[in-house]
């Protein structure tokens, strides 16, 4: 927890990682997933996912309820393994390093791959200020003089600064739902991650607050790589550069049907299943 934070994930394991996995082109991917199977005990929740996420882009994961979108998302920062008997087969590469290598500390991984949840969950005992710096303070990297700057920068990036700058000492839970979610985004980016995972970040919010979150995602895209799970197809269409469509097989395991530029997924999908879903015929 001291100074050797810069690159703590394991060195590249697979030299051929550059092979385009989802037809995304040549730029080296930020995240690359290969033949990923996810299990809860004996139940396989996700199977055979192979795809690549470009750096500084927004990738949407869509699909019907229960198709394993959230489970898949949570494998990317190893939050999934907090569930009892959860395990993973296959590889997830972050900048070419396998995050499931035994040498990887999942706690450190999560500082590079942050997460925003479906329901806004600011820490109720902490002020707005303390919420933003919670990840820095509680990870023991507190450099007191820098905190003020980090708070302002994170809140500005989360488009919340103007609304809260005069009440930083008030509890985080005193904010409205939409503001709380932006506070959670500020908290996630305060630890300076490279990737931000968002698990239906606007599904608990009203349409106006949702719009603000979507605008924010568009801005965050310039600094972060974003993977967002959403059940809202319009939202995927509005915010994402690329879209992954998941669905469920007869054995209830989720799998990736199609992955490609969002525009193509929505207007000219290759798979019939995708077309049925995006045109509203099922799901």
């Amino acid at each position: 927890m001291t100074t050797d934070e810069q690159r703590s994930v394991a060195p590249a394991q697979a030299p051929t990682a550059e092979a385009a996995a989802g037809g995304t082109g040549a730029a080296s991917p930020k995240i690359e997933v290969r033949d990923l199977d996810v299990y809860y005990g004996a139940f396989r929740a996700v199977k055979g996912v192979t795809m690549a996420v470009r750096p500084r882009s927004v990738t949407a994961v869509i699909g019907p309820s229960g198709c394993g979108k959230s489970t898949f998302l949570r494998t990317l920062n190893r939050m999934h393994e907090l569930a009892p008997k959860a395990r993973v087969e296959g590889t997830v590469l972050l900048d070419g390093a396998n995050v499931y290598d035994p040498a990887v500390d999942p706690v450190r991984l999560r500082r590079y791959v942050g997460m925003v949840f479906q329901r806004p969950n600011p820490f109720p005992t902490m002020s707005i200020y303390d919420n933003v710096v919670a990840g820095i303070r509680l990870a023991g990297r507190s450099s007191r003089s820098e905190l003020d700057g980090i708070v302002e920068r994170s809140l500005r990036r989360a488009a919340l600064w103007n609304e809260v700058k005069d009440k930083l000492r008030e509890p985080g839970t005193s904010l409205s739902g939409g503001q709380q979610q932006r506070l959670c985004i500020a908290r996630a980016i305060a630890v300076d991650p490279e990737v931000v995972l968002m698990d239906e970040p606007a599904s608990a919010l009203d349409p106006v607050a949702t719009l603000r979150i979507e605008e924010l995602i568009a801005e965050l895209r310039t600094n972060y790589t974003i993977v967002i799970v959403t059940h809202n197809m319009q939202q995927a269409g509005r915010v994402s550069d690329e879209t992954a469509f998941f669905t469920m097989d007869e054995d209830r395991a989720g799998y990736l049907v199609e992955f490609g530029p969002t525009r193509e997924i929505f207007t000219n999908p290759r798979e019939q299943l995708t077309e049925d879903y995006v045109s509203g015929r099922f799901g």
Partner: protein, 293 residues
């Protein structure tokens, strides 16, 4: 806004007062109310009895002077200071142990282990407290051939630990899991998450459990009989020797044939009741404030 209505048909009609259903309803109401009154009478009577007799026995000597022969001009300062010291030491021992055990069961133990420990704690809560006294007697009094206040504190701590442990666990269970997830997703270590998020969020409730355990320990007599023993000498800080406590003082003095001593027992009983009541009321006030937020 009244729409035209037809007369109420029989199948919708309320029971008339003479029907069996209505009679049963009324009598059950009366029976349950009567039982409630019976249940509350002892509490009210006890409060009234102790207050009336106790207030009459209150005087400056009671809280400033040690006991004297026949009780003339003596007081209960030995018992007051003894109770405070022993309960304080017991709390010092029981809080870290009970809190850590509660955290372990709630946050770290496997499902089966947690079940076993929880069951053990529940059994421990129900163990007759005199047995706790005997148990502590065998290894903290017998080897030293000396009744001592430390043994008394340990016995009280044994009573307190399962209470604190169970409330800690129950409270931590109420802390939403998504707060822990939020913390872990920030790259915060597990132990930090448990302490700074889970325990911190549940702290008001945990504190309530600690205060209830303190109230319970303050009122315990049986575990002290074979450990701290009681003493007529003022003992400040010497945990290697016998020490008095309010419940012991009440127990001893109430059995004496001297009215002055009986009088002091009432006074001490009132002080003890007051202390326990104040703790309980504080706890209630705290939890009320907690829910109104």
């Amino acid at each position: 806004m009244t729409a035209a209505a037809v007369p109420i048909p029989d199948h919708l009609r309320r029971a008339s007062g003479r029907e069996r259903r209505a009679v049963v309803d009324r009598s059950m109401r009366i029976v349950t109310l009567a039982c409630t009154v019976i249940a509350i009478i002892p509490l009210v009577a006890l409060l009234a009895f102790v207050t009336i007799n106790g207030v009459a026995a209150l005087n400056v000597d009671l809280i400033t002077k040690p006991p004297r022969a026949l009780g003339i001009g003596g007081g209960a300062v030995t018992a007051i200071t003894g109770s405070i010291q022993m309960v304080a030491l017991a709390t010092l021992i029981a809080v870290p142990v009970g809190l850590s055990a509660g955290v372990y069961v709630s946050e770290l133990a496997g499902h089966r282990t947690a079940g076993v420990i929880r069951f053990a704690a529940d059994v421990l809560v129900g163990i007759p407290s005199i047995l706790v006294g005997v148990f502590v007697f065998t290894f903290l009094v017998l080897p030293f051939k000396q009744y001592n206040a430390f043994a008394g504190s340990v016995a009280l701590a044994v009573i307190m630990v399962p209470v604190i442990m169970r409330t800690t666990e129950e409270i931590l269970k109420l802390v939403p899991g998504d707060l822990r997830e939020a913390s872990l997703a920030l790259g915060i270590r597990r132990w930090r998450t448990v302490l700074s998020v889970a325990v911190r969020v549940g702290w008001p409730g945990i504190l309530t459990g600690i205060m209830l355990a303190v109230a319970r320990a303050a009122g315990e007599t049986a575990p002290l009989i074979m450990t701290a023993l009681g003493s007529r000498l003022l003992n400040i800080g010497d945990f290697g020797r016998p020490m008095d406590a309010l419940p012991l003082f009440i127990y001893q003095n109430a059995r004496q044939p001297y009215p002055a001593l009986n009088e002091q027992a009432w006074g001490a009983a009132f002080l003890l009741l007051l202390a326990v009541l104040v703790i309980n009321i504080l706890v209630r006030a705290r939890s009320l404030r907690g829910t109104s937020r």
